[in-house]
Structures are given as structure tokens and as C-alpha cells.
């Protein structure tokens, strides 16, 4: 720590006097903005490891267009204004060819809007809001992860075949929570017209009162509960729900809750029998993926979580786009991302020409405790590619602003 601080003080002085002259022209720089502190912090560490792994592999094979790929990491602290400041610094001072990353939806939207205004390519990795590629979409932004609409639909397709008629929901009082529920509810009602909603609960993000909420939900007697809580809210909710017997009475459908990020911290307290979207890295049979898991685990001595894969694939995609563009020129990058095919550890994905949304999908399955590893896992899972749930090109065009 101390030597780091000293180093910092010395370099800080230098940086203030010569802001833009540090590195040689040889490398291609990508500005990577993410929430390494604040509310996104629990999820961005593995993402960063995935990014670093991808970059090491790309550079070991000679880089892109004969140049090394260099990633400059910046912490947005979970604040949109900070992220915009970093984008300015990365592009102006560091001459980054493009911006990538972000975890929180509002940070992603702020950076996306900045990139549109300044005509800089932005590869959004994790923000889930549909607005990013639809109502606030534009040419300079693409996004890797399946958005709230896609994940909600994947779950609704399965839940619609089940017997449950009386539904309740609980989620953070954010756009993410509300949209995740609306898509699911609408699709569910299409598939099963007798569905009836008996309660909606929107606790404040990060400040949930789990005990009273569990009691309130149980008093409404739903057959099934749709959950879009995540992070510490979800963990606290589970602990109260277990003790109060919610999971014995109510079937639970959870968006993202099969991801190791959210299920691992619960250890043996993870609820069994939930229908979830997630990432069963331990149980994906393809050779490419197993090799990737082995390489990742060897590198960091820890198995991957979904964030690791997202980080890795984001930078694979960036490398492919630059190769296809044959340059780091923004206009060529924008064109290169349209319909870009990327061979990833989980199979091929495409960045759709119509909205820049990748067709990366998610796994839908049921949770179960794995006594051997002492954590919850997903069983009977199925990979649903984005193509299956995304709206068609014509429908998508209607969702996007007309330029």
C-alpha cells in the first residue's frame, strides 16, 4: 500500500504536468469504465479479471492489426458524472480508441449519451436497461448482455406453462426492477390469461426491510413470486424468507438469481426449486467453454462468475470489431459492429445491425443445493440464445428513435 501511495504521489506530479504523453503510439487503447467502488463493487472484480485474461490472450497472439491492446481502467464510483469525466479524460488525454464497460444502467446511459454527442464508440458490457439500445439507442453504442426484456421473456416462456395463477413481485424501486417485471408479467398474461397479480413490492435499493416485506408478501397468499432483487437486498431477503417459510408456500421465479454472483454468497441458505436465469459454468458441456473455465481458474485460482465471462467476451468482441474495421477509426468501428460475429467460449454471438444488441443469451434453470461444493447451483438448465427472445428487426426499429 505504502509503495503504491508513494508511486502515486510521484506519478501524480508528473501526470499533472504532462497529461497526454505517457505511452507510445504502438498500442491500441481502450478506455474501460466500471464501478470498482460503491454499489457495483461486489460484481466488477471478476469482470476485470475476465478483461485482463482476454487482453493477455489477444496480445500473446500478436495483438490486433499488429498492435498491442492496452486497457486503461477507471473507477466510476457508481456515479454517472464521474463516468463522463473518465470518458473525457480517456478519449482526450489518453487518446483511447473507444470506451467500454459500465455496470449500472444510469452510468451506462450517461456514457452512451456522451459517446453519441462526441461520436465515440461505446461498448456497454453489463447495464441491463432496454433504453440503452432501444428508446435511447444510437449508432455509437452496442451492448453485450441480454437486457431486462430478454431475460424477463425467457422466464415467462417457462412460467407460462406452469400452474401458478396468483402472482406477486418484489424488486428494487429502480427502472431495472420495474421493467424486468413488466415484460415478464405481460408475456405471462399472454401465455396464461388467468394470471392475476396480487401484490407489487418496490423496496428502496440497498435499504430493504426484509422481515416486514416477507410477511407482507405472505399475507397476500400468492402462488408464485417474481423476484428482481439482487446483491445484498436479495441475500437479506432470502435469510428472512427462509426463516418465515416463504419458500415452502410460494414458487419463486428470479431474474439473474442463478448467477454465481448472487447465489454463491448464500452458500447452503440458497433456496431450492427457484426458476432462474443464470450461468451454470460448472455444468456447460462444450469443450470450448470447459477449456475457458480451466484457463480462467488457473489464472486467478478462482472459478469464474458471469462477470468474468462478460469481461472476457466484451474484449473478444472489441478485438474482432477492430480487426473487421481494419482500423480504430470510429466510423469504421461503428460499421464493423453492425452484424459482427464473435466466436465466444459459449458459442457464436452476433451484434445485431438494427440495434447493436448482441445475441448472447442466458441459461434458464432450476436451483438446487450442491452439497459437495456447499452452494446453490442450477439444474435442468437450457441455454436460450438472444435470437429467440429479441423482437424482430421491424419491431425493434419502432422502439428506437428516428434520426
Amino acid at each position: 500500500m505504502r509503495s503504491r501511495l508513494l508511486l502515486f504521489l510521484v506519478t501524480a506530479g508528473l501526470a499533472l504536468s504532462f497529461p497526454a504523453q505517457a505511452a507510445a503510439q504502438a498500442s491500441i487503447k481502450v478506455g474501460e469504465i466500471n464501478s470498482y467502488s460503491g454499489i457495483g463493487a461486489p460484481f466488477t472484480g471478476p469482470y476485470k479479471a475476465g478483461v485482463e485474461m482476454a487482453v493477455e490472450e489477444i496480445n500473446a497472439k500478436g495483438g490486433i492489426l499488429g498492435r498491442k491492446l492496452e486497457v486503461l481502467f477507471r473507477d466510476d464510483k457508481g456515479q454517472p458524472a464521474e463516468a463522463v469525466k473518465h470518458a473525457q479524460e480517456l478519449v482526450e488525454s489518453e487518446k483511447a480508441a473507444l470506451i467500454a464497460g459500465t455496470f449500472l444502467s444510469n452510468v451506462g446511459l450517461a456514457v452512451s449519451d456522451w459517446s453519441k454527442q462526441n461520436k465515440v464508440m461505446f461498448v456497454a458490457a453489463e447495464p441491463l436497461t432496454e433504453a440503452l439500445t432501444w428508446s435511447k439507442g444510437h449508432d455509437y453504442v452496442v451492448r453485450l448482455r441480454p437486457n431486462t426484456y430478454e431475460q424477463g421473456r425467457m422466464l415467462a416462456e417457462k412460467a407460462g406453462k406452469m400452474k401458478y395463477a396468483k402472482w406477486a413481485t418484489i424488486g428494487p424501486n429502480y427502472e431495472y426492477g420495474k421493467r424486468a417485471w413488466e415484460t415478464f408479467r405481460d408475456r405471462l398474461k399472454e401465455k396464461k390469461p388467468d394470471v392475476q397479480v396480487v401484490g407489487e413490492h418496490w423496496p428502496t435499493l440497498g435499504k430493504i426491510e426484509p422481515g416486514p416485506l416477507v410477511t407482507a408478501i405472505m399475507s397476500q397468499n400468492p402462488d408464485a413470486l417474481y423476484v428482481s432483487l439482487f446483491g445484498s437486498d436479495w441475500l437479506a431477503f432470502v435469510r428472512e424468507a427462509q426463516k418465515r417459510g416463504l419458500f415452502q408456500k410460494t414458487f419463486v421465479v428470479g431474474i439473474l438469481l442463478g448467477e454465481p454472483e448472487y447465489i454463491d454468497p448464500l452458500k447452503l441458505e440458497a433456496p431450492e426449486g427457484m426458476l432462474v436465469t443464470g450461468y451454470p459454468w460448472y455444468d456447460i458441456k462444450s469443450q470450448a467453454h470447459q477449456d475457458w473455465v480451466a484457463r480462467y481458474t488457473k489464472r486467478g485460482d478462482k472459478p469464474p462468475v458471469l462477470g468474468s465471462l462478460i469481461g472476457y467476451v466484451t474484449y473478444q468482441s472489441i478485438a474482432e470489431a477492430i480487426k473487421r474495421a481494419g482500423s480504430t477509426d470510429t466510423a469504421k468501428l461503428v460499421a464493423a459492429f453492425k452484424g459482427l460475429k464473435v466466436e465466444t467460449p459459449i458459442g457464436p454471438i452476433t451484434f445485431r445491425a438494427v440495434d447493436g444488441q448482441s445475441t448472447m443469451g442466458a441459461w434458464v434453470g432450476t436451483t438446487k443445493i450442491d452439497p459437495a461444493r456447499g452452494v446453490g447451483i442450477m439444474v435442468n438448465h437450457e441455454y436460450i440464445p438472444g435470437e429467440k427472445v429479441l423482437p424482430s428487426d421491424d419491431e425493434t426499429k419502432k422502439l428506437r428513435p428516428v434520426n
Binding site: S37, P80, E92, D113, E209, E240
Partner: protein
């Protein structure tokens, strides 16, 4: 019926945790007058200690309980150390410098926890023997929560015995009421303060340790709990342990029922209750009116009355005019950000420095200025210059309403009421999706093409921020500003010479709100978007830290503070993920080295 009963029990269990944390905070404030932001950090540390210790101690089923107790004692010791090594050095500094120090501690502890335990969320062990639940009124209720409901009153009883049956406790009560009198009677204040810090930190530690079987451990649990704890303390009355108990019960139970009745209001319920209580009872439910400190007014030394010297002003103006032609583009943007925050901090300085009114909710006006400009541009289609100027008017209008109620209160109660209003503003912009876009914010708020280039927007920002800062300085040096200072230094005498205190402070509040709004408008066209987080507590803390860092007693303090804070923050963040420990460490060093702020030292040298 059974539902209501179970909800009551859940509310009581939550209330007991609130009580543990809030009673310690209240105690510390009551005796030492320190607004201890680091209280939440002690709570978090104890939780993480418990998490690790319960896995390490070879005690079988007793391990968790032993770990919790050890963790609470460890944190108590740490609290004592902090008091002796850090806070004791700055008791003579102007009021609130201790606050800056505790804020720096928050940063340092947050990074220390991230460094030692990692950033990922963790769930600790269940409490052995109390992991299950018991049927109550036809529903299952966690036995651990029942145990907590019994344990809370035991702690309260223990505190009662300490305060009424020991000499030390009696001295604490005396010091809470009149600390100078206690000192005059020959009681060693240092030992009293250290003792109070140890006890307060112990209670925070106990609260954190006992949360381990219920909640998840996160690196942000410190900030989540501290605001709630302050609300409880203020509703109860600062320094009153019984008030803290009463307020905890009110908030705990209300939250539990609120989930049933008003689910949408849960985001602000607590703050609305606080606002109502403070408007009706300005010193909280069981608090007492403040004893006027006899030494009041001595805190702000070296203040010069004249506005800035014209030659000096011209020199700085020339440098600032030439700056964008010399700086690389990013630093031009950075300079604009510093201008916005310098104006933001200067507007708070009018309240804090000149008026002696510390606001914890100044971000409301900054945010409303930004939202006002953004929405008038986007929804009403106003041209940018008009929307830009209307933003601060929106902020001033809100300041007129909120200020009307706030200026009826003093000191920490004033601060907390401003915080409550800021939180209400946050809830409105956050929940009113149709107009404000909710948490997705308002996007594409850019200046028109003729103003788009960084250099042009730099001059635009310079003109408005510069004018704002100079006007604020003129206000502070005018008869109005002098009267404001008279009220700050001796309210009763000021009243006796015929000053209308409330009207005066209200006007100052509106003026400060207007210029904070102008800062927000400058900021929003720099960033291109505005989000509800701009009105939240962390945004209110920023100008507060800047004013203190620069020097609350010096006119140029907020400007120097804003520049120093923003530059430090930007440079540190660029080089390390552990920016908080860097920033916190530097802040601690600065407070210890310059206990009057940076500008305070410059002024002192001069005189």
C-alpha cells in the same frame, strides 16, 4: 390481526438494531458535539470482524456469540484510539473540523474493508441455537429476532444503570447538558470524551456484530446505516439515549407497517417523519434546547471584511482567461467542473461560514438547478440560455419553501432538516418517472452547437461561476452579510439590536439555493445528463468537505477547497482503485496540519 402483530414484532426487532447504533451516536454527539460520520464504519467493521472471528474461534456453537462480543470490544478500542490519536488534536479547531476528520475515516475504513475482505457480498453464520423460527399467531417468526427484541431493552437498562448509578455516567449526563460547566468543576474532559467514544463505538459494534446472522455484509453498509442512525438520533433528540430508543421504536414499527400501507413511500417515510417532528418539536422528541456555548463566536478567526482586492481579482481573472488556451482539452473540462463545484461550495459557504448554518442537504438545490435546466430544455423546449438561467430560479423557489421551515431550527437540527428536504427532493425526482425519467435520468442535455466546444463552454462557465462567486462575496461583505454574522456569533444580541433573525437567514438560504442551482446548471451542460443521485446525501457532503478543506473562516476557502478536492480526487482515482484510502489519508493529514483549512493557514500567515 395476526398479520399486524407479526409486523409489529418485525418492526420491534429492527427498532432494536436502530437503537443500538443510534444510542451510541447520540451519546457521542451529546457529550463531544462531534458529528461522527465514522460511526457507521465502526458498525461495518464489527460485522466483518464477527464474520471472520466466528469462523476462526474454535468454540463450536459459542463461536458466533464470542466473536460478536470480541468484535464489539475491538471496535470500542478502535473508537478510543481514533479519539486519542486523531480527534483530540482538532478539538480546538473551528467546529465541524472533526466532521471532516470522521468523513476521511469513513473513506479509509471503507477501503480497508475492501482490501482485507474483498468487495463481494458475504453472508455470515446463522446464530447457533437461534437459527430457526417459532410459530406466532399462525405465522413463523425468526427466533433470533425474538431474542433481539428481548436483548435491546436489556442494553437500554444497562445504559440506564450506567447513567444513574455510576459517577462516570452522571458526569456524562452533566456534560451532555452543559459541558463547560462540567469542565469548570474540574472534571477531566479528555478522559470523559475518550470514555464516551469507547462506549459509543462499542454500541455501534454490537449493532453491527448482531446483524451478521440476518443481513448480508457489504462494503457500503456503513453509509446505508449512518444516515438512518442520524435520523433516529435527531428525531429522538441529540444526546438523549431515551429519545433514541423512542425514535427507534417509532421508525422501526412505522417502516414495518409502511410496507403494508404505503409501499411507494418507503423511500422517504423516515425523512418525512423527521421533518414533521422537527417542525413541531425543533429539538426532537426528548431533546432539550441547546445551551448556548459561552465561547461561541471565537471559532472564526482571521476573517477579512473587505471584498477581494481588485488587483488580486484582476490577476486571477487574467490567468483564468488564458487558461483554456494553454491546457489540454481534458483539463479544460476539469476546470469547468471545478468552477461548478467552487460556486456550489461558495454558496454553501454563505450559509456555513457567514451564517453559521451547516446544511446537509445543499445538493437538493444543486440538483434542482440541474433538473430545472434539463427539463425546461427537454420537455418545454426552451432555448439553452433560457433554460440555463431558469434552473437556478427553480432551485431558489424550492429553497424558499424548504428554507422557511429550516431556518426555524439551529445547529444539527437545521442540518438534518435540510437533509430531510433533500431526501424528499430525491424521492420525487426518483419516483416521478413520467417527468424526470426516474433513475434513468434526463439525457442529452448538451449546449447548442455555438457553445459546444470545450473552450467556449469554459468561458460561459467562467462568466457565470465567476460572477456568482463575486456576488456571493459581495453579499457576505455587505451589511446583510455582517448582520448574518452577528446572528451567527450571538443570536440573542443580534435580536436585541433589532435584527429579524429568521427573515435574514431565510433570505440567505434562498440566495445560497439560487447559486447552488446555478452551479447545477453549469454542471448539467458539462455532463450532458442529470440523475437523482445528484440530489442525494453524498452530493451534499462534497461541498461541505470542500468548504472545510479550504477553510470555513476564509472567503477564498470554498474556492481553494473545491479545486484541491477535485484535483486530488481526479488524480488519485486515475492511479488506484483504492482512491478512498488515498483521499482519506490526505484529508486526515491536511486536517491535522491545517486545522483551519488551507486558506485559513494562508490568512493566518498573513496576519
Amino acid at each position: 390481526m395476526s398479520l399486524l402483530f407479526v409486523q409489529l414484532l418485525s418492526g420491534l426487532a429492527n427498532a432494536m438494531f436502530l437503537f443500538l447504533i443510534a444510542s451510541g451516536l447520540s451519546l457521542i454527539f451529546g457529550v463531544t458535539r462531534i458529528v461522527n460520520f465514522a460511526h457507521g464504519s465502526f458498525y461495518m467493521l464489527a460485522a466483518y470482524f464477527t464474520y471472520s472471528l466466528s469462523a476462526m474461534l474454535p468454540l463450536g456453537p459459542v463461536a458466533f456469540y464470542a466473536a460478536a462480543l470480541v468484535a464489539a470490544f475491538l471496535v470500542a478500542g478502535l473508537g478510543g484510539l481514533v479519539e486519542v490519536l486523531l480527534l483530540r488534536r482538532v478539538y480546538r479547531a473551528p467546529e465541524l473540523y472533526q466532521l471532516l476528520l470522521t468523513f476521511a475515516l469513513v473513506l479509509v475504513v471503507a477501503d480497508a474493508v475492501r482490501f482485507v475482505w474483498g468487495a463481494d457480498n458475504k453472508t455470515g453464520p446463522a446464530a447457533p441455537g437461534l437459527a430457526g423460527s417459532v410459530p406466532i399467531a399462525g405465522q413463523l417468526f425468526p427466533s433470533y429476532d425474538l431474542a433481539v427484541i428481548v436483548f435491546g431493552p436489556l442494553v437500554a437498562l444497562g445504559l440506564w444503570l450506567v447513567f444513574h448509578r455510576t459517577r462516570w455516567g452522571i458526569l456524562i449526563r452533566a456534560a451532555t447538558q452543559d459541558r463547560e460547566m462540567v469542565a469548570a468543576l474540574g472534571v477531566d474532559q479528555r478522559r470523559l470524551f475518550t470514555g464516551v467514544f469507547v462506549l459509543g463505538s462499542f454500541l455501534a459494534g454490537l449493532g453491527g456484530a448482531l446483524q451478521v446472522p440476518r443481513l448480508a455484509l457489504t462494503t457500503v453498509m456503513d453509509t446505508t446505516v449512518i444516515v438512518e442512525a442520524f435520523v433516529v438520533v435527531v428525531i429522538g433528540g441529540m444526546g438523549s439515549v431515551w429519545g433514541a430508543l423512542l425514535a427507534s421504536l417509532v421508525i422501526g414499527v412505522l417502516n414495518a407497517y409502511g410496507v403494508l400501507v404505503l409501499p411507494k413511500a418507503s423511500i422517504v417515510l423516515m425523512f418525512i417523519v423527521m421533518a414533521v417532528v422537527l417542525i413541531i418539536r425543533p429539538w426532537g422528541l426528548l431533546g432539550r434546547p441547546e445551551v448556548l456555548l459561552r465561547a461561541a463566536g471565537g471559532a472564526v478567526a482571521g476573517e477579512r471584511r473587505a471584498p477581494w482586492h481588485p488587483a488580486w481579482l484582476a490577476a486571477v481573472g487574467l490567468v483564468l482567461l488564458a487558461l483554456p488556451l494553454l491546457l489540454p482539452t481534458f483539463w479544460v473540462w476539469m476546470a469547468i467542473e471545478i468552477f461548478a463545484f467552487a460556486l456550489f461550495a461558495a454558496s454553501l459557504h454563505l450559509l456555513m461560514g457567514t451564517g453559521g448554518m451547516v446544511s446537509f442537504g445543499h445538493a437538493a438545490y444543486f440538483g434542482l438547478g440541474a433538473y430545472g435546466a434539463a427539463l425546461l430544455l427537454q420537455l418545454a423546449g426552451w432555448p439553452m440560455p433560457l433554460a440555463f438561467l431558469a434552473g437556478p430560479v427553480v432551485a431558489a423557489a424550492a429553497a424558499a419553501v424548504f428554507g422557511y421551515f429550516s431556518v426555524r431550527l439551529t445547529s444539527i437540527y437545521f442540518a438534518m432538516l435540510t437533509l430531510a428536504f433533500a431526501q424528499i427532493v430525491f424521492a420525487v425526482v426518483h419516483q416521478w418517472d413520467e417527468v424526470t425519467g426516474g433513475d434513468n435520468g434526463v439525457l442529452s442535455v448538451w449546449p447548442p452547437p455555438w457553445l459546444k466546444s470545450p473552450v467556449r463552454y469554459y468561458y460561459w462557465a467562467l462568466v457565470f461561476a465567476g460572477t456568482g462567486v463575486v456576488l456571493l462575496r459581495l453579499v457576505a461583505a455587505s451589511p446583510f452579510g455582517l448582520a448574518l454574522r452577528a446572528v451567527r456569533d450571538h443570536a440573542r444580541r443580534a435580536e436585541a439590536v433589532g435584527i429579524n433573525i429568521r427573515a435574514l437567514q431565510w433570505t440567505a438560504f434562498v440566495v445560497a439555493g439560487f447559486f447552488a442551482g446555478l452551479a447545477g446548471a453549469i454542471f448539467v451542460f458539462l455532463k450532458g445528463s442529470v440523475f437523482p443521485v445528484y440530489t442525494e446525501a453524498p452530493m451534499s457532503v462534497q461541498p461541505l468537505v470542500m468548504v472545510l478543506l479550504g477553510g470555513v473562516g476564509a472567503p477564498s476557502g470554498p474556492l481553494i477547497g473545491a479545486a484541491a478536492y477535485k484535483l486530488l480526487d481526479t488524480v488519485i482515482t486515475r492511479y488506484t482503485d483504492y482512491w478512498q484510502v488515498g483521499l482519506g489519508g490526505i484529508l486526515i493529514a491536511l486536517v491535522l496540519a491545517f486545522p483551519r483549512g488551507i486558506a485559513g493557514v494562508l490568512d493566518w500567515r498573513r496576519s
